[in-house]
Symmetry: C2
Subunit: 343 residues, 2 copies
Amino acid sequence: MELTERKMKIMQAIVRNYLETGEPVGSRTISKYTDLNLSSATIRNEMADLEEMGFIVQPHTSAGRIPSDAGYRLYVDTMMEDKMREVEELKEDLLEKEERLDHLLKQTAKLLATNTNYATMVSAPSIHGNKIKLIQLSKVNLTQLLVVVVMEGNVIKNSIINATDDLTDELILKLNILLNTHLNGLSLEEISLAMITAIKQQAGAHSNIVSDIIDAVAESIRGEEDLEIYTSGANNIFKYPELALNNNASELIGAFEEKKTLNELVVKTLSDETSTGIQVYIGNESPVDTMKDCSIVTATYDLGEGMKGTIGIIGPKRMDYDKVVDNLKGVMHQLDSIYKKNK
Amino acid sequence: MELTERKMKIMQAIVRNYLETGEPVGSRTISKYTDLNLSSATIRNEMADLEEMGFIVQPHTSAGRIPSDAGYRLYVDTMMEDKMREVEELKEDLLEKEERLDHLLKQTAKLLATNTNYATMVSAPSIHGNKIKLIQLSKVNLTQLLVVVVMEGNVIKNSIINATDDLTDELILKLNILLNTHLNGLSLEEISLAMITAIKQQAGAHSNIVSDIIDAVAESIRGEEDLEIYTSGANNIFKYPELALNNNASELIGAFEEKKTLNELVVKTLSDETSTGIQVYIGNESPVDTMKDCSIVTATYDLGEGMKGTIGIIGPKRMDYDKVVDNLKGVMHQLDSIYKKNK
DNA sequence: GTTAGCACTCGAATTAAATGAGTGCTAACA
DNA sequence: TGTTAGCACTCATTTAATTCGAGTGCTAAC
């Protein structure tokens, strides 16, 4: 069966209406809602067709229609409009703020949540493949050594290690120079075992502490790799009965708190990038099981220097895709410009 | 009216039973549940008395009784038993882990949540009044300076500042010495304006960057002062209908995500300490409005050196107080021993 | 002081009936 | 051939009426 122009219009009207109300939409409503000037009877015929094609379903025999997953997909792929609404506003809100990346991302999550009324998450950029800019050792006291690692993009990690030997100032100076000459400009993956042995050799009697330090460096780089994720508006899901009831609320909230699920989401998202950087997962398309009843819209941001992260918006399937996409675009744009400014 | 021994026993039985089932408890149940060997009729008379005294209430005329806030209070104050149950287990679970404080606290929250089935929060120790142990400046590049501050208790803070002047190695060395000689061993509150002026004077031409650095130090110390709070098990509240229904779930979850409310809770808790370090807030006693329908049990831990923080467990009024208090004691004990080990 | 017995209360669960939004189909119309 | 009015039918939801039973308070007897 062919998807005529008219069918498209009706379909669009159904989706739009359902997004607004959350109620199954009937033929009479559409008959008035559109400018097609068709009677409800005609609409009914068309709707029967659309149902046969799999774009809409009836929750039960004598109810109106609601979009199926395929229906939402159709809408998202071919019927959404770029309105670029909120974007200007957004700009004002966020732009001036924070040079600290973590604060900025936290703010981003919050802003998106209040703006869209959905749950949001922002993953800190993975620094996978990111290079070491500076290693700085300092003596805290006779046996404790502070190790600070600065990475490209000014991501700072630190840890404290306990030394077995006594720490002299000369030793620390020597180690500082040793480590920096060897490791600066390298990413974690580029540090080979051979390199480490070489460094140890040069450290001579202090090879012990060198391995400890390198371990600490590796650990602090890899450390937060997994679950540095900021969330906001998790309780927005209570605004949508279809998510809040059936006690999947508990699961969802759990996912948001645990962050393990979210991390999974980030990983899967980063792996299937699109040209626009924006992906839409509807219902069963969801990369994670917990969110099979939701829709997820994600955007991948790229601050350069390998610093890529994911912004995600999680809501009911009847989410306002237009608005969400607009907002994401706006935020992406801003992150871009902030980044460029800092550069 | 006098609170006889028998009334106490009956009261205890009522509370215990209600904690378990969450259903109003009737006279017949008590008649069997206790070893008092009294008929339901007698119990009924006693219950009428207890109701008159305000310790129990009837949700409606022909229902069993449930404890009032005052009833819970009576129970907590005079009828709870120290069983020291889970504590051994706990020890195994937590002890070996993490020397990093933030990880440790996060784990603590998680452990308590899974152990008790309530929502938990752990505030990072306020480092109010905590002393600077070490300030370390390092050159990141020609115009960027890394400032690392290590506080007593090995709390590490860092930030990056942009310098207006070019940074030479000598300058940094000089500033390092200058700042450390002046500021080491001081808390934020002890740094006076006079001191800052003095330092600036000695820095001569570079007084600009000195203020920037001191600002950064102050900022990084104060920075997280507010809301470094770890939570876990927020979704446990779904296990208790009295919290999950009436849509206060949304509010509660919001509080847990926002952390602002939790922070308020921490502040208020720290201010009214008890001898045991453990406080119990029942229903309306709650320091924060959002949790008027909950009970909150908090413990204040003290790692010495001014590092005090709060552990809180939030659940329904019919929470298992005994178990919660036991768990808290266990955890406190462990934090203590871990701390002593590190010292 | 304790207990058996009984009438009474009232929320919760069950059943029955009424409502109404929406459909599919048919037949008439342009 | 496409559109539409009309009508019978379906079925979730709402409302009302009933039943059920756990639990109480009170009285009278032990």
